[in-house]
Amino acid sequence: MPTTVTMPRLSDTMEAGTVIKWHVKEGDTVASGDVLADVETDKATMEMQTYDDGVVAKLLIGAGDRVAIGTPIAVIAVDGEDASSASGANPAAASSAPAAPAPAETPVVVTGTVVMPSAHADNGARARISPVARRMAEELGVDINSLRGSGPGGRVIKRDIESAAARTSGGTAPASMMPVVAASAPAAAPSLPVVAGPGAREVAVSGMRQTIARRLVESKSTIPHYQVSMRFNMDPLLELRKMLNAQLEPQGVKLSVNDFIVRSCALAMAQHPYFNASWAGDRIIIHGEVNVGVAVSLPAERGGGLVVAVIRNADQKGLRQISLDTRALAEKARTRGLGPEDMMGATFTISNLGMYGVDNFTAIINPPNSAILACGAAVERPVVRGGQLCVGTELDATLSLDHRVIDGAMAAEYLTTVRHNLENPATLLV
């Protein structure tokens, strides 16, 4: 039976491809691994290989033709086979396949061979996927056809499924927690080719780095960001924290400033539900649970990067539990790595660079959240209190907001509530 070669999916976001050049002509003998054609996708031009041995019986489209993924483009037969018996071998049928709209940006030409563009070869070859990855994909509802495997020869392995599940929030998350921004944004490819000059060094991009790139490009380019800042007087909180930590020390509990901020922000959601919401195109979804994401940076020996660990139902947890949860998740992230369940479903995110001595900064919203709070360090400054110049400890916090959901006055009111919570910290204890 001759094999029909179809337009492969060469990237997550590819909908159609153009054969720039055929490397074979009808009658040529090919072996698995030979390059059939250069195919241009929405992002790049890549070499397309055959997974079968045989003779090129028919080329169904010409150079320059653009067809949708899955459209038959060639037929490979073993010697003596009748090419016309291959399914979809009729050129008329092929040409009726809908072509996708033209790409929105200039494609970057990538040299080098894509050995295994996706787990599933559209020409009917078996997917390369580890057994446990296949089982997890079924359990988590991950579409393996859209994945590019990071194992040898493009094999889809466990970590690919885990990161795909984390990326899409998987099929197991409640509907309201699913990302509402369609994941169709292009990856962070520059619009001009980047040339490596003398002395330059190339670093392979990990799956996590790709995810960070895609999600943040998507966030920054589709969400109308703006920022609102406020300065908090931290003296009462630091005094309370010192007292509590002295009392809790025998129990092995040590509350961080960040734990107080997580609780302050979570409690403020009751009065400001739009801060716990997602823009859904034609409506706004206000989530039922307050799940606060905490950005955790990973050490270089774990490949660097960052993940967002989720403190679930943070509005219902006391400082002690928030502290324990945060510490356990950060430890897990930095040693064994977080599972999809540890990263899914954040409804609001906090990024804290205070421990690095940063005064203030702005953060990019973590979709599908509507806001992210960027916290600096609590630092001693000359302050005016009651008409007197004195030394006080203050912390600068900056909200980045989705203007489709939250207006400036709302942001000011939310920060005022957070400030009230932090500056009257006894309220955080009840």
Binding site: S130, P131, V132, A133, R134, R135, S150, G151, P152, I157, K158, R159, E301, R302, R334, T335, R336
Partner: protein
Amino acid sequence: MSTVTVIDPTMSATREIEFRDALREAMTQEMRRDPRVFLLGEEVAQYNGAYKVSKGMLDEFGPRRIIDTPISESGFAGMAIGAAMMGLRPIVEFMSWSFSLVAADPILNNAPKMLYMSGGQFGCPIVFRGNDGAGGQLGSTHSWCVEGLFSNVPGLKMVIPSCPEDAKGLMTTAIRDDDPVFFLESERMLGMKGHVPEGDYLVPFGQAKVRREGTDCTLVSFGRPVNFCLDAAAELAKEGISCEVLDMRTIRPLDIDSIVRSVRKTNYCVVVDQSWSFGSPGSEVASQLHQHCFDDLDNFVHRVHSADVPTPYAFNLEQEYLPNARRICEAVRSCLYRA
């Protein structure tokens, strides 16, 4: 198999003794308990054992039960098998398992098959024991690992302890077992010290022991390389890789259930076996895992064996030939796609 009692070592008195002392204690206690048990082999009596495992036993039990033999493995192994068939319970010491090769016919062709071929008329309750594996610059002909060669034969049991505590518990069980038991020791471990329970202490066959708990990768091993695995696991922990180390303790019977339980948790498995890779216990574990755990594996079962060459004499080559901790670390990283 005779009835065994598992005694939790944490519940009885222990003291630190050497691996060789643990072996002697098990043999001595069993000889006091059962007059049918006796020991024979080269230099076991008057010289107190080539490796001092039988030190003092001649004094206690006399020359009828601690018997020096000529250098004739085929002769004394065959004689002991005959004694076992007639109701005694011999322990045969091979100075090295390398020397057992000249006794291949009695130990492989007679002992394991006797119960089957005699239609149940004759059993063969015998223990063959001795040093197995590279002893340290002994050259290729004296460095045999017989795990792969001998475990192939149905009807025998193969025991390979990795620590003094198991040496005693497994030896006691071996002497009380009604089938031929091939008991593999290591010259490199005879001086190893460890806490060993006093009194009757039995470790049942076919029960692996988790020597280190972990979540990221299962290391399966037996005998001396278990200790290499523990070193590798400590090293890998620094990289954030958490290994679970399973000590199989017996190759036949093989506790595949414990391996399966661990691999279902970790999804990765590296088998560390000091025998050569072709047709080895390591390849058997891999094969059975692929049968029982196919849908749980994220990579094929990786194996670390001695290199597929005769054991080198040179010190540095011999170290590199063995499944050492560095080679185990490399295999784990590769198996976890972190190489």
